[in-house]
């Protein structure tokens, strides 16, 4: 009964057989992206100060320096504290104090390196790498990064970024640039 049913389906839909057979024969070639691989090529700075689209995120205020116009923030999900320049359009800096939770629009930039054993030739000491490249989408200018704790983030990079030279495993240093907007959360 089962054989007859299969024969009937195949005779009615031969396209499935013809199309699926080569597909299945090619199975087994997919590999999941891995950020811990050693990328190919000479160790170097691939591109510095890669501009990112501003990101809106929750952050906890660590310190405020009104005189220099800077603020130290610990962003949601991150253990590190980064210091940002406060943009001229941000007001109310005097009212903020450490421990306040804010919704901030942050500008960050990336330095992307191809490292060998975590180091650049000629550099003193190891770079403080924040994340590694997990996936690159040059068409939509997306860079997916993986942090040491396994979290991932996808960033939209600016036009002109040399994404064609970047690959999974490249090392990334995230540099805080500026706060464009900020609103204290109750």
């Amino acid at each position: 009964m089962i054989v007859a049913a299969r024969a009937r389906v195949c005779s009615r839909c031969p396209l499935f057989v013809w199309v699926l057979t080569p597909v299945l024969m090619l199975a087994g070639c997919w590999t999941a992206p891995v950020a811990t691989v050693q990328p190919q090529g000479e160790p170097r700075l691939i591109q510095g100060a890669v501009a990112l689209e501003p990101v809106k995120t929750l952050a906890v205020v660590s310190a405020v320096d009104v005189s220099s116009g800077t603020i130290a923030l610990r962003t949601e999900g991150s253990a590190d504290i980064a210091t940002y320049k406060v943009g001229p359009e941000v007001s109310g800096l005097n009212d903020l104090k450490p421990g306040d939770v804010v919704q901030a629009t942050l500008v960050q930039a990336l330095d992307v390196y191809l490292l060998r054993d975590g180091q650049l030739p000629g550099a003193v000491g190891a770079l403080a790498v924040d994340a590694r490249v997990l996936r690159v989408d040059p068409s939509y200018r997306l860079l997916k990064l993986q942090y040491p704790d396994g979290r991932t983030d996808t960033f939209k990079v600016a036009l002109g970024t040399r994404l064609e030279q970047m690959a999974p495993g490249d090392s990334v240093v995230i540099r805080p640039v500026a706060v464009l907007a900020m609103r204290r959360k109750s």
Binding site: C13, L15, A27, Y140
Partner: protein, 338 residues
């Protein structure tokens, strides 16, 4: 996931032809107002094919809506004088990034598909017996389903899916001809006019896709064979009883080109596709067409990673052609990525 698509379609398939044929068959029997069992059987089949085809046309996302113009004649000598507006909102999409499938070197990701559609058609009949009569048909369809996409290489994937489509079709007839005014009750009794039918359709398909990248341009080749099984679960007339098998096979080549210029912080993209759709079984009989070609162009702004789940927003237009038929559609082109 792509949505919405909207268009009007006016390739009046078999609608009038069936009625005209039936009434022509009635003509010599008018004194007794009888119809032979063979004729009744043919009519039932034809009406079933028609309802099945229109339900799929109105409710399934895979079949394009457009504004068509027929340049040929249908069977029974009917000429085209009809319009059908098809409005659809729906799409399909793969969720998240591919994940490893157990210990196999195959990636997979869930896939969902859905659509809501409405079809509203009017045809004025031009046949000696029923000249000037008007038949109107409305179909509503809602479908939902899903499956999974399996990646066997970084470029090649296939996505088997199962969907369910609920359809509700109704037909109303305005008798202007003397003949039809005299035989309207008989035509109703035969289920030729003024009927309603609720149908369900099970839709299975496999979307096979091959993606190539050239610089920043993405070229996608896809092939989608689909099988439809439709049955009535309720109708206003026992003669309107649909139980049929249909198939379609669409093959598409899509090009997605980033243009490197920005508007309001979003990169402009262009592209389009060519698609060939073949119809099989009752779908072919119901449409009275074996295939349809579509060429589509679009201009869109890239919103990926900038607006929640939106890949692009733009405008697009299509030109369609097939045996004895040409058409066009235009509308908003929105693609989501989950």
């Amino acid at each position: 996931m792509r949505a919405p698509r909207e268009g009007t379609l006016s390739f009046c398939p078999r609608a009038a032809a069936v009625i005209a044929a039936a009434l022509a068959a009635l003509a010599p029997l008018c004194a007794e107002c009888q119809i032979t069992p063979e004729q009744a059987s043919q009519l039932r089949d034809a009406t079933g094919d028609r309802v099945e085809a229109l339900t799929i046309l109105g409710g399934d996302y895979g079949i394009a809506g457009a504004s068509f113009r027929s340049t040929g004649k249908f069977s029974f000598g009917e000429s085209a004088d009809a319009s059908i507006a098809v409005t659809k909102l729906g799409g399909s999409g793969d969720i998240g990034d591919p994940q490893p499938l157990g210990s196999l070197a195959v990636g997979w990701q869930p896939r969902v598909q859905g659509n809501m559609g409405a079809l509203d058609g009017t045809q004025t009949l031009h046949s000696s017996l029923v000249e000037g009569d008007v038949t109107e048909i409305r179909t509503y369809g809602i479908e939902f389903g899903g499956g999974a996409r399996f990646w066997v290489t970084d470029r090649l994937s296939f996505a088997p899916t199962v969907m369910g489509l609920y359809g509700r079709s109704s037909e109303s007839y305005t008798a202007n001809s003397a003949f039809m005014r005299a035989n309207l009750d008989k035509a109703r009794e035969l289920g030729l006019v003024d009927w309603e039918a609720d149908t369900w359709t099970v839709i299975t398909g496999v979307d096979i896709e091959y993606v190539m990248r050239w610089d920043r341009t993405i070229v996608s080749l896809s092939s989608l064979p689909v099988y439809y099984r439709t049955e009535t679960f309720q109708s206003s007339n026992t003669h309107v009883n649909i139980r049929g098998d249909s198939g379609s096979w669409s093959n598409t080549i899509d090009v997605d080109i980033p243009l490197g210029m920005q508007f309001y912080g979003h990169e402009l993209r262009s592209g389009g596709y060519y698609r060939w759709i073949g119809f099989y079984g009752d779908l072919k009989d119901g449409f009275q067409r074996s295939n349809l070609n579509e060429i589509h162009g679009r201009v869109a702004l890239d919103f990926l990673n900038q607006l929640w789940k939106v890949q692009w927003i733009g405008i697009g237009a299509s030109y369609l052609w097939g045996p004895n038929i040409t058409g066009w559609s235009a509308g908003l082109d929105v693609v989501f990525r989950f």
